[in-house]
Symmetry: C2
Subunit: 346 residues, 2 copies
DNA sequence: TTGTAAGCGTTATCAC
DNA sequence: GTGATAACGCTTACAA
């Protein structure tokens, strides 16, 4: 009555049911069905819980059990359309196994990354999924994670001894490029992606390898335009390429870049695929709704998220390998590519 | 040495520094600078912290202080491109004020919503931001939130006595429709949005009001096509509309729907805006990169996220009003609208 | 079948 | 200036 404690705790339930806190705890325990208890007691406790609207405090439980059932998800920017499916993959798998997900947008900024990792360790998350890189730049060996038994799983390329989910960017881009080569293209440019990104570097490498496979000359600066990862970057990269003799095909570092190129091509009065063929990467939802529909490499982003959480659970069980898990990509042929106007001309 | 405790705790630091745990706590306290302490002591503690790689346990702190510095963010689906900017708005503001964000995708499913709210209460989050509705369908009065002093803030329309951030969907769609009316259009259809969504209903209402303003006949089923909120929904809605006498302008419930309509129009050999004008809603990033660029209503999504977190902080301070905070929208005129081919014909 | 009590890692209130 | 110690809300031996 006087000075009632703020919220409802297990003690209030115990008092209301006329039992000890241990008994209440037993009713709430996951092993409850196996715990011998008088039926009447159990019912009294359940009733008290209902009436008081009691919700057990997970903090206290976590403190005792040394696990929070919480994981951190660290990525550059959820606004990048590449990430939402990944996030859902992680979250769906996480919630299916009783984990909560703390979202951390870092913009790829090493300082923000470091700050978030610190926060997550202090929150004693059971594990952390890191997508989009940025970790290798961390100062010093991250033994903090060992100290607090925080498991790390990476999505994408990295140089650390942690489990990871990846795709073969080199092979996928090589195959995508080979596809336009097979269509008869020779003037093939590569568009977008900052050199600072290992993903972009891998895709560029795949493009170079495909050129070599096809006996095309080494790609020079005239056929490779680096830039951003987004529509704007693709737009400007494509524009700058259209100045000289325009290529007949564009291999883009990702779909956003490709969609930016679509806009640049339209503005230049060039038609896809009659004048220029375009290939993307990622297969974002828009890829099948632009016209012409975009031929692109489908990345199993959602599945990568799921796989990352599975790896995290394995790591928590002590049964995780640091051997990267490679998920398959697939070239989705749609309508943005066609043979060049005058195949073989020149 | 023997049976060393698993992780490093404040006690280990105290032992290493040869002080009491209270002293370590004082060094770590936010008020540390104001606490009188011998410089040498402080230094010894700091050194011990560094050497042991100690990170204070936020759970223990939270348990004691009755606040977790964590908030829940409940929304239908992060994969819906409308949400990422909102999420970033919330998260940026949250992290700026020391809050962690737990992400909860519900697919709008009442059961998932209820389950997540329960989880969040058990996690003793300080507050919850609910976007995308679905709450009113919860069974019974949510007095659990009162019991555990969990503050709720809504983004979008709702019928609950909680603070909220909203936009005026009716007025915005009315203005957008008035814009195409002003261009001379009379055959104006409304596309997409399930009737179950209050947002969709509001936008439809705005469309109807604009028709009335313009002296157009009440919209019948032939001019209103409900459906999904996404590209697919827009595509099919537009297709079904193109059967009879096609409208000269399409007012779409959102940009995804509009982009779906773009595809349907292209497939039907109709050109935008020569044959049909299109207006969207939301101003997602793609809107300025499709060709023709999409005329649409810009929604300050990121700012809404920020505002939601501000409201949550106000609520935690006890200084929040349940009066909805209305953020302004803006019609962004681009190139998807033009006067109808034969203005006034018929 | 149920209760008592120790302890998870902190902070805050007293003493000294 | 610094140190004991009692909470915070729970789970889990161990007793009864």
């Amino acid at each position: 009555m006087s000075r009632s404690r703020a919220t409802v705790s297990i003690r209030d339930v115990a008092a209301a049911a006329g039992v000890s806190v241990a008994t209440v705890s037993r009713v709430l325990s996951p092993a409850s069905p196996d715990i011998p208890m008088r039926q009447a007691t159990r019912e009294r406790v359940v009733r008290a819980i209902d009436e008081l609207g009691y919700r057990p405090n997970d903090l206290a439980r976590a403190l005792l059990q040394q696990r929070t059932s919480t994981i951190g998800l660290v990525l550059p920017d959820i606004s990048n359309p590449y990430y939402p499916p990944l996030v859902r993959g992680v979250e769906d798998a996480a919630s299916a196994h009783g984990y909560r997900v703390v979202l951390c947008n870092t913009d790829g900024d090493p300082e923000k990354i470091a700050a978030y990792l610190d926060i997550l360790v202090k929150a004693r998350v059971d594990g952390i999924v890191v997508a989009g890189g940025g970790l290798p730049q961390l100062p010093g060996p991250p033994l903090v994670f060992e100290t607090y038994r925080t498991k790390l799983v990476m999505v994408g390329r990295h140089r650390l001894a942690h489990p990871s989910v990846q795709i073969d960017n080199v092979a996928a881009t090589r195959a995508a490029t080979a596809y336009v080569v097979g269509l008869g293209h020779r003037g093939i440019a590569f568009l977008g992606g900052p050199a600072s990104s290992s993903t972009a570097r891998d895709r560029l490498l795949g493009y170079r390898e495909a050129r070599r496979d096809a006996g095309l000359p080494e790609a020079g600066p005239d056929t490779v335009r680096t830039g951003g990862f987004d529509e704007r970057g693709g737009y400007h990269a494509a524009r700058s390429l259209l100045g000289g003799e325009p290529p007949t095909a564009l291999v883009c570092v990702n779909d956003r870049t490709a969609l930016g190129a679509y806009a640049a091509l339209a503005d230049a009065g060039l038609s896809i695929p009659a004048d220029v063929s375009v290939v993307g990467f990622d297969d974002v939802p828009m890829a099948s709704f632009v016209r012409p529909t975009l031929t692109t490499v489908a990345v199993p982003t959602y599945e990568m998220g799921q796989a990352a959480l599975r790896l995290l659970r394995d790591a928590l069980d002590g049964t995780a390998s640091t051997e990267p898990v490679l998920l398959p990509t697939r070239l989705v042929v749609r309508t943005s590519c066609a043979p060049p106007r005058a195949a073989g001309a020149r």
